[in-house]
Amino acid sequence: MKNLGLLGVAAALMLGTTQFAYADAIKLESGKESKMILLPKFLGILVFDQANEGAQEAHAELANPGKLEFLGPTPENSVAGQIEIMTTAATQKQGAVLLSNNAGDQIAPAAKAAMDAGTKVVTWDSPIPSGEGESVFVAQVDFGSIGIVMADMAHSILGGAGEMAVLSATPDAANQNAWIEAMKQALATDAKYKDIKLVDVVYGDDQAEVSYNRALALVDKYPDLKLIMSPTTVGIQAAAKAMQDEGLCEKTKVSGLGLPSEMVSYTMNGCAPEFALWDFRDLGYLTYYTAYGLASGQLTGEIGETFTAGRMGDYTIEADPGRANAKRILMGPFTVYTKDNVEAAAK
């Protein structure tokens, strides 16, 4: 009790100093002109479109007379296409590029050139791993906590014990790799998960067909497999369909990160009892506020800077715990979907 009291005092003190230091969240002035490009990994994926809706909402709210373009490469040309769009953005004197990076560090030189030309590069969803050529990363959730949430979902589905495997996107997807690492770490460090065994990590390339076949190969390879964890919306849906088609849902469950509208039937029939996701509209919205603040010079992008992002409230730029010398803004939290809330969310 005494300890608790002490903790309380400490917390109050910390809160006090925090408020003292960041007493005024910067209110962004609307109406400043700045052209921007929202650059997703590639076009045609629902979550990126949702991010665009969020960004357009913020764009209208801030009454930016410049244009916000939703511009992305075609799927087969993702890496080269992203680099090309980034390179052209600099010569077009764009105010900011809002990037969900699919090109790893290969895009860093182009992004750096853009920054040197005065274009701000704000990443979202998937950062530039080295942090080179990036103003700030708007993280959907803390990458470490995604690992814990996935480990917790596995724990609850497996009842604390059993074999699981991961079905990821592409082998070089920076965000998925970071989440899998975080999950591995959670599994290894917390005694709660000691009876959960991660047997394999395979890659479905974010294609329905490859993911479907990989999921089936996993159950063939590991006869005692109880769970497939897929941290990608394409993979989780394909895995759930594969288990359902082959009548394996009783034996092997599916979980991970998925869209309620795509997962609702699998959650209701028990193939995928639990999965999680954050709101991509909010992510687009927050990213736009950040980019607008930087591009219009109202934010400097320094660590510790706090600003108000419209309807979402106040956010602070901080050091990214996952990447040395990189900065992030943490959005969070995300929702875990089960039988109880998935139907409402799917509408």
């Binding site: 045609g44 849906q237 394909a238 795509e262």
Partner: protein
């Protein structure tokens, strides 16, 4: 022994060789992977082959005429998405109309390719490289960043590929697989028995001679592209039925897999020789290896594509060497026969 080999045609020999290689590979993996040889393996491969077998059949027709079709993956993706959208918006549409829609849509893409190759005389590798990107971009535009999900599809469509037509013990013969086999067999019978279909071979093996013989080779090439489009369209229908969830990446990389299947199946890249049955076996072999490699811990994720590449090389190299030898043996035998005939005269 030599004489025994010579009595078979090269086509039959190729197919026999493929069957032997497939059996050897199955035996090899059976010794490496636990619980490998069972009905489940058959069910996996047969269901998975259903989509690619159709595309490989279309690709074979193209390769027979000395051309290549790199746009099949994009056609599959587009038709899969369009078919899914149409049935999602009109759930009461009859299955026959839906299949027809997929085939006609695919065929329309084939017309574009065929006209450019046959009448504008642009090399097929250039035309289809361009249309691969064009059709894919058309899909991105058409899809409007939405995806088709299995929730929006009627139950008959989603259930169709996995319906068991009949089973022999653990081996299930499912509707998707049977439908694909039916199409391949029809194509095979047409190619071997029907005079007009033989023109694909004529144009591919010797275009000048074919023209001399009064064959309109441009028309034949146009038809090959249309049929390849139709096959890709049917594969698109199968794709949406099997996977349910269609995004703009649907069918990505299928051009490479279908070419691999055809070439491994003994279809000569120089045109004029090969069978759709061979391409089907090639599809099975490629799929079998892909499926088994995932379960084989020795090869890592990153090397699987390399194995597919190596297979194409080995298949083409082996085929070239084998055909050259066969030609030599034939020549030698003809020579011996001539000498013998000479001897008999004197």
């Amino acid at each position: 022994m030599k004489k025994g080999i010579l009595t078979f045609s090269p086509q039959v020999l190729r197919i026999l060789a493929l069957v032997v290689v497939t059996a050897l590979i199955v035996l090899f993996f059976a010794s490496q992977i636990e619980n490998y040889l069972n009905g489940r393996l058959f069910n996996r491969i047969s269901s998975s082959v259903a989509v690619m077998a159709l595309i490989a059949t279309g690709q074979t027709l193209i390769i027979l005429t000395r051309n290549i079709d790199l746009s099949v993956g994009s056609i599959v993706g587009f038709t899969a998405f369009a078919t899914g959208s149409v049935i999602a918006n009109n759930p009461d549409l009859s299955p026959v109309l839906l299949v027809g829609y997929a085939a006609i849509l695919g065929g329309t893409f084939g017309v574009v390719n065929g006209l450019l190759v046959a009448y504008a005389r642009i090399p097929s590798i250039i035309v289809t490289l361009a249309t691969m990107a064009l059709f894919r971009s058309a899909l991105v535009e058409y899809s409007n960043a939405k995806s088709v999900t299995s929730q929006n599809l009627p139950a008959w469509l989603v259930d169709f590929p996995n319906q068991v037509v009949f089973s022999l013990g653990e081996f299930q013969f499912r509707a998707g697989f049977m439908a694909a086999i039916l199409v391949v067999l029809t194509a095979h019978i047409a190619l071997t028995r029907l005079r007009p279909a033989r023109q694909f071979y004529a144009v591919g093996s010797n275009p000048e001679a074919a023209t001399m013989a009064g064959i309109d080779s441009r028309r034949v090439i146009l038809i090959a592209f249309i049929l390849s489009g139709v096959m890709a369209g049917l594969a698109g229908f199968m794709f949406v039925a099997r996977f349910g969830n269609i995004t703009v990446v649907a069918g990505l990389g299928f051009e490479l897999k279908s070419i691999a299947a055809a070439v491994v199946g003994g279809v000569s890249i120089n045109g004029g020789s090969g069978t759709v049955i061979g391409a089907l076996l090639g599809t099975v072999l490629v799929d079998l290896i892909d499926n088994s490699l995932v379960r084989w811990p020795v090869v890592s994720e990153f090397w699987r594509e390399a194995v597919l590449g190596a297979m194409i090389l080995i298949a083409v190299a082996a085929d070239t060497i084998f055909i050259r030898r066969l030609a030599k043996m034939r020549a030698a035998r003809a020579h011996e026969a001539a000498i013998a005939a000479e001897g008999a005269k004197t």
